[in-house]
Symmetry: C2
Subunit: 603 residues, 2 copies
């Protein structure tokens, strides 16, 4: 069975050494409670929970799946008990507002913990995970009454949340949605319609479920400007706020999926369910983006988390499995063959996993720091800057980390050879679980349009310039630092090229809007590789400083530099392909008519 140890040393490196979280926390309101000791204790307890409670349920949860019986969904064995422990441990309230019963610790801490949940049991982690989006929507857009009624329960963890967006005929294009909300008595509405792909839509882990539902009011304008957001509880709270009358929302069926079997993906039927408007009428899309942005970062973290677990287990196997001799002569002459970690191509696969896990971690923690500032920062300029940068990075975190996370889990299977395909080893589950992350909360294609169309071109590249300027400054400051040139030079070149590529697409898009879509995914991947290169270069700087200052952990820092060097040598060259494809333009994509696509087989 696969194992997972939270990479606490690497987490500390990124938090403390690379991004100076201690100073960052000290400046945040509420952050003063997040002293290094407190943080350390939280991470260690989270690591224990992930390894001892969640990881042992990961494979059994996959094999058992969820069951729908008489309208009730049973999660796999052990899931409910694990959730009870999670709530008792106070985990759901960690970063929540003290006004709603939260502990008020920085949001970034909660993100870092969610890496552990994703690594150890993605399907389980989605039960509490979906609550984050619902909580964010209520926190930012709910009335005081709604906060008191629903948000406090979500914070406590006794109730969980969902996001009910997708319908059978519309996922990306929410303007098409058909679910209706009709005003009834007081401030209530009757919600009717069918939602699909509702993760954690029905289950037995919590005493109530709070659905955040997009629907249209009778007087709604056409399209996406006519969408409103409603809170629809499974059980209507009684006068004491306890779950009371059963509401008209039920799970119609469970989807049979490729992976995340332990999470219930529900078809939810709303039959005149009682719901309450969140935010202004017809302004639901803005509220939804509050949920979505949290969910998108969370999904990127899933890509990172699965890459880490796959790496750890592939590494153990590669050290253990004896097969063939090293081409440069036996390395374990006393054994019948060498462990496969001696082979360069096995190392290439392991290092690819390692670089994506460690690079992804830097990116997520870097973005998480911005979330803290956006949520709690005191300086307006600093907050605006963090908000813009976070907006730019969100689609990269979501799509790049899930694309490379999927690749990393596949490398894990590949290291195991034929055994990787066998369920028992657990490596193929990571691939199946990772596959969803490229799809939900907006596919890679949608993220790429968000990045290039909305976040970059829509404001004439201003936000991008803010970021590339930061990279530029780093390169200038470090170009003469001994040992940094091999990293800083290629980074500076790519950073400049990034701007040129952006201008190039922007110019073409002025005459042909299809150019944006044509370039978008390659552009996103390019952006991801450069962003990770920047963070790896910064990591090298830190590691070099530590080595120069003298340290008992020299092997750790040297391995960090080696990983960065591998990244620059063997992964960053992919930008050469993406750059060329960004420039290839839309023509060869748009030439064939939809009819002529199938002429090879439609006869």
């Amino acid at each position: 069975m696969p194992d997972y140890q939270a990479p606490l040393r690497d987490m500390r490196f990124v938090m403390e050494e690379l991004l100076d979280y201690p100073a960052h926390y000290a400046r945040l309101p509420g952050g003063e409670d997040a002293t290094p000791d407190v943080v350390s204790a939280i991470l260690e307890e989270g690591a224990r929970f992930a390894r001892e409670v969640l990881m042992p349920l990961n494979q059994s949860g996959d094999q058992e799946g969820c069951r729908l019986e008489g309208g009730e969904v049973k999660a796999p064995k052990g899931f409910k008990e694990a959730y009870r422990q999670y709530v008792e441990g106070g985990w759901p309230s960690l970063a929540a507002d003290p006004d709603q019963g939260g502990q008020g610790l920085p949001h970034s801490l909660s993100q870092i913990l969610s890496e552990m949940l994703a690594s150890s049991n993605l399907a389980w982690g989605m039960y509490p995970g979906l609550s984050h989006g619902a909580s964010a929507a209520l926190h930012h857009h709910g009335t005081e009454d709604q906060k008191a009624t629903y948000l406090t329960k979500l914070v406590e963890g006794t109730w969980t949340g969902t996001m009910c967006l997708t319908e059978p005929h519309c996922g990306t294009d929410l303007g098409l949605l058909k679910t209706r909300a009709v005003p009834t008595d007081g401030d209530a509405y009757e919600i009717s319609g069918t939602k699909i792909f509702i993760s954690a839509g029905e289950h037995d882990l919590a005493e109530n479920i709070v659905h955040l539902v997009l629907a249209k009011l009778p007087d709604a304008p056409e399209g996406s400007k006519g969408i409103s957001l409603f809170v629809v509880p499974k059980y209507l709270p009684d006068a004491e706020g306890h779950p009371g009358e059963r509401n008209g929302v039920t799970c119609g069926s469970l989807e049979h999926k490729m992976g995340i079997h332990g999470n219930a993906t529900c078809v939810m039927n709303f039959d005149g369910a009682r719901g309450f408007l969140v935010g202004a009428p017809h302004k639901g899309l803005a509220c939804m983006f509050t949920m979505m942005n949290a969910a998108r970062i969370g999904t990127g973290i899933q890509g990172l988390g699965l890459a880490e677990t796959s790496f750890q287990n592939a590494l153990a196997y590669a050290r253990d499995r004896l097969q063939m001799r090293s081409l440069s002569g036996p390395k374990a002459a006393d054994k019948p063959a060498d462990p496969i970690i001696v082979h360069p191509d096995v190392r290439r696969m392991l290092l690819t996993q390692k670089a994506f896990a460690e690079g992804g971690r830097m990116l997520v923690y870097y973005a998480a720091q911005m979330i803290d500032v956006v949520e709690h920062g005191q300086d307006v300029a600093e907050r605006d800057r963090a908000e813009a940068l976070l907006g730019l990075l969100t689609p990269i975190v979501k799509a790049f980390l899930t694309e490379v996370g999927f690749e990393a889990t596949n490398e894990g299977v590949q290291v195991f050879g034929g055994h990787g395909f066998i369920r028992e080893w657990g490596m193929e589950q990571l691939v199946r679980d990772a596959r969803i992350t490229r799809l939900y909360e907006g596919t890679t294609g949608i993220q790429a349009l968000d990045l290039l169309g909305r976040k970059v071109l829509m404001n004439q590249g201003e936000t991008l310039k803010m970021f590339t300027k930061e990279i530029h400054k780093f390169c200038q400051a470090e170009e003469a630092t001994p040992g940094m040139a091999e990293f800083v030079r290629p980074l500076a070149k790519l950073n400049a090229e990034w701007g040129e590529l952006t201008t190039g697409v922007g110019m073409k898009a002025m005459t042909d809007r299809e150019e944006v879509g044509a370039a978008s995914v390659d552009y996103l991947m390019y952006a991801g590789y450069v962003t990770l290169a920047y963070l790896f270069a910064r990591a090298v700087k830190q590691a070099r400083s530590a080595l120069e200052a003298g340290t008992e952990e020299a092997p750790f820092y040297r391995a960090k530099i080696d990983t960065a060097r591998f990244y620059f040598d063997r992964l960053l060259p992919r930008t050469r392909a993406h750059a060329q494809m960004i420039q290839a333009g839309a023509e060869s994509l748009m030439a064939i008519s939809a009819d002529d696509f199938g002429l090879g087989f439609e006869i």
Copy 2:
């Protein structure tokens, strides 16, 4: 449920127009029977069988899987009946030697049919598919008696074959194998040991199963030079050649796998099973390569076949699914949204699938033509050349087509968005089924070592030069042809670079053998992209000729040119990354010690 139509028009394009199979067949002994009419009838009947018999069993076979009951394996419902029809249709004997009851048609025809089997039902296709390797081994290395006893039955299809190579502790490294063969009475041996991952090792489709088993004789030298090959039937043939006494080989258990659920992957226990030596003692590895090479081409075909099916179904969905408006203005103004095929990024995914399916088809049929020549060619020089080129292309066919085939099936899921993750749609099954093709019959890493180490460097690049010279000649002949420059110029450049990269790695490998392994997978992928570019350029030439000559199928030929242009614009640039990574060398792979790999989490 997914559908599949054999791409007969494209198949005919590759066979008749691109590779001039009619002239090729006319020159082959036995090929005179393969007239265009006969070939056409065979392909159409194969297409019908694939679509009407096999495809409807693909999803149900995946859901049902195989069952082991009292030592007997039951294949999913309908598999046995389909196999009966397959045998009755005379399919197994198509390309077999008339001396053993075969129809003596060219081998390439059998390869082309196996594309249809892989497309419509990979798990089912592996039952007859494994017989090919066993047949090849017996055909080339068996005694006349063994041929009469076993091969005729395999040709008839009433018995099926297996390849028993892998053991729990050794897959790639067969020198470590422990299965023993002890001489007993007459020409018989007692075989004892455990083999794993035996596809179609036990099932209820055929009346007997012929295992080709690698084992060691008591006096065997150490390592891979001490391996012998044995034929071990499930039932020992009686005096009339019918299945008689049950032999001591049984299925101990079935593996639970990520995919190909309809095929029984068996642990096979040999308990003093009666076996007979095939070929010379200790020379089993050479015999095994006869099986392996057939199986490797067959696996590449699986990659191609799955890419095609995924493409066809993604195309249908993309034409049907309405979501968002085209960025350049509505294309289906009468509908609530545009079909997603209007979006450039959806087209990029579909064209990626299309280009890999059509490009893969050209590569497979090109290699299949060489198989014909190797097996039946009359001219020694021509045969030697075909054998060398086929040897060079085999690892490319196997690894490149399974890597890009896996990518193509993933693009198919991506086109479906969240629905791609749901079993019902069938797209995720194609990914799960495709995943094994990168692993079995030698992983991508093993193929890459075979290509770069054995096929290219071991003979100082002579075989490669033979191939690049052919490409060079084509480029020279066509560079001035109107409309060809956009394809010929980049191809000529890459072709020259291929030689330079090879020399570069060869030089480095002289001082450090690890350089071969370090460059190998990127080298193989590079080789695959250039080879497909060559074939696409040739396809453009044919398509242009047809258009110039005047044709009623102008849209087909134009689509072919458009697909080639997409390939050159949007896939071939990947060579830029691979070229750089080939040159990156081994250093950054070998720097970290096996101990230091895990310092981020091992604390």
